[in-house]
């Protein structure tokens, strides 16, 4: 009886402590979300200095978006993400495997970890600006390649589709492979050493061990990395925006969805921006659901380690 009263009297503190979070979320996320959804059903844009709308037009914005270049931009986003992600996960798996292999005894592990993690903390916009300056036709990269005699005249990296996309992919790779490596290392180190010992006694090679022991055991974390990286890829903005000055050059082949959203917001086309946001919200909602299932689902070995990932989630895998 006494105990029950006690817990009741403390309950109010629970509410008080979580109140700031929820008030802040309500004001700065939930209300904007509702507003966004509402305006997605309105014709509301600015043409010159004249404001048109808001007039209710139903799902017209959604339909005209499907008819516009949105799907092309979605394709661009996917391509740019894949170019960065595939090498990232391959290299991260390789490095994580080497770093955790007791038989290899790699020296200077800490040094390598510090170096490969470094690009993750660099301001993406400054990094993109640096790449723009370096890979421009009279920039240092062309100058180096020419003095090495590999090319006879400057290559216009940013003038070609492949060049621009590769640069974006390269930057995303550089910025994220260190982070993924450290995540996967933690996952591999979480595997019981007994299993590795047993497989060593059975005489399996390091390649077999990787494919039959390590890979299946870290699969939950791999899946998690994949999904969070897709969410990050969906948000890709800083790098292509700065690299191409928001144009997505050449011929809008490196224009991502968020760059598209940004240009609608800048031109104050609220109706279209709203409808595009809703599309993005639905896709990320589905992805969020997968993450939710993984972090809260059945409590097998893998899901616990996923907690370690909270940070990567926040940074969004960009």
């Amino acid at each position: 009886m006494k105990k029950k009263r006690k817990s009741v009297s403390y309950a109010k503190w629970g509410y008080i402590f979580i109140l700031p979070f929820f008030i802040c979320f309500l004001i700065f996320s939930l209300i904007p979300l509702i507003d966004t959804v509402r305006y997605s059903f309105f014709e509301y844009y600015r043409s010159g200095i004249k404001e048109i709308g808001p007039n209710f037009i139903g799902i017209q914005n959604y339909i005209s978006l499907l008819g516009s270049d949105m799907l092309k931009y979605a394709g661009n986003t996917l391509i740019l993400w894949v170019i960065g992600f595939v090498p990232q996960i391959v290299v991260a798996l390789l490095l994580a495997n080497w770093f955790t292999d007791v038989r290899l005894k790699i020296r200077g592990k800490q040094f390598f970890k510090v170096v490969i993690y470094l690009p993750n903390l660099i301001m993406a916009s400054a990094f993109a600006m640096l790449f723009f300056a370096m890979f421009s036709t009279n920039g240092p990269i062309n100058s180096i390649l020419m003095s090495l005699g590999w090319i006879s005249k400057p290559v216009d990296f940013l003038g070609s589709v492949i060049g621009t996309r590769s640069l974006v992919g390269l930057m995303n790779f550089l910025m994220w492979f260190g982070n993924t490596t450290i995540m996967l290392m933690a996952a591999i180190m979480g595997i019981s050493p007994d299993i590795f010992e047993a497989c060593e006694l059975d005489g399996c090679t390091s390649i077999k061990r990787f494919f039959y022991i390590t890979l299946p055991l870290i699969r939950p974390i791999l899946a998690y990395t994949l999904i969070t990286s897709i969410i990050g890829g969906l948000q890709m903005f800083d790098v292509p925006q700065i690299l191409t000055n928001g144009q997505g050059n050449p011929d809008r082949t490196s224009m991502t969805l968020i760059m598209f959203l940004n240009s609608h917001l800048k031109s104050k086309n609220y109706g279209m921006a709203g409808a595009l946001s809703v599309y993005l919200f639905i896709v990320s909602g589905i992805l969020c659901f997968f993450v939710y299932r993984m972090t809260n689902g059945n409590n097998d070995d893998g899901t616990k380690k996923i907690r370690k990932k909270a940070r990567k989630v926040r940074k969004g895998g960009r």
Binding site: L118, I182, N262
Partner: protein, 281 residues
Amino acid sequence: MKSKNQKRGQTILAYVVLIFLSFLCLFFFYILIVNATRSHADLQKGFSAIPGSYFLENLKNVANDGSFPMFKGILNSLIVSTCSAALCTYFSSLTAYGLYAYDFRAKKAAFTFIMAILVMPTQVTAMGFLRLITNMGMYDSLLPLIIPSIASPAVFYFMYSYLQSSLPLSLVEAARIDGSGEFRTFNWIVLPIMKPAIAVQAIFTFVSSWNNYFVPALVIQSKDKMTVPILIATLRGADYMNFDMGKIYMMITVAIVPIIIVYLLLSKYIIAGVTLGGVKE
């Protein structure tokens, strides 16, 4: 014998790949630093691996440039990032503690809700956010870049995991028996225990706020309120070919070197922190 050779081969391969990747990571920064020390005329002649002597000159040019107030930008970025890091870690800890230490009816629902929005991109609400802060009169000010960091689901989750692994509830009970109020318990007993988690998340929040570009670019209009990433973007948008290239490299250097220095000083903690939340089971 065979396996020994194989092992050696693998070790060599590992070193080759690692050195190559490290080279790739450092090469661009090397070019950046070298070019920041050279004059515009030198840079036009082509690349040279040897640093020049224009470092201070370039730095002075950056500092005196009125159209790109870089140092004002750094100051703005410092204000935003420091305040965000402080608010974010304090309130995330508070929320995590509230959900961890107390039993109340909405507890499960609140936790589920935060977990559901854990990875929701902020961009989807950007339009409504922009309209809201315009209506609130906070357009073109630093406040909308700071206050929303109070609600950071991912930091909350990190703090919650940390509490689960390192705060025994008996300690809270003991504090109560000694007559400590709930806020006092949190501020003087729980927060010190959470110090390692707070330090790590403070660093990460600081860095991500420092690097943030999307929201500031929508919110900030006037030059003297711009943060570093927006200044870099304006630089990219300006008539680039007429610029002193040495100055441009110096601006990029000024934008990223502070973070690199902090990182090198704290790298041990940062790298350990990437995976901290779950290591302590």
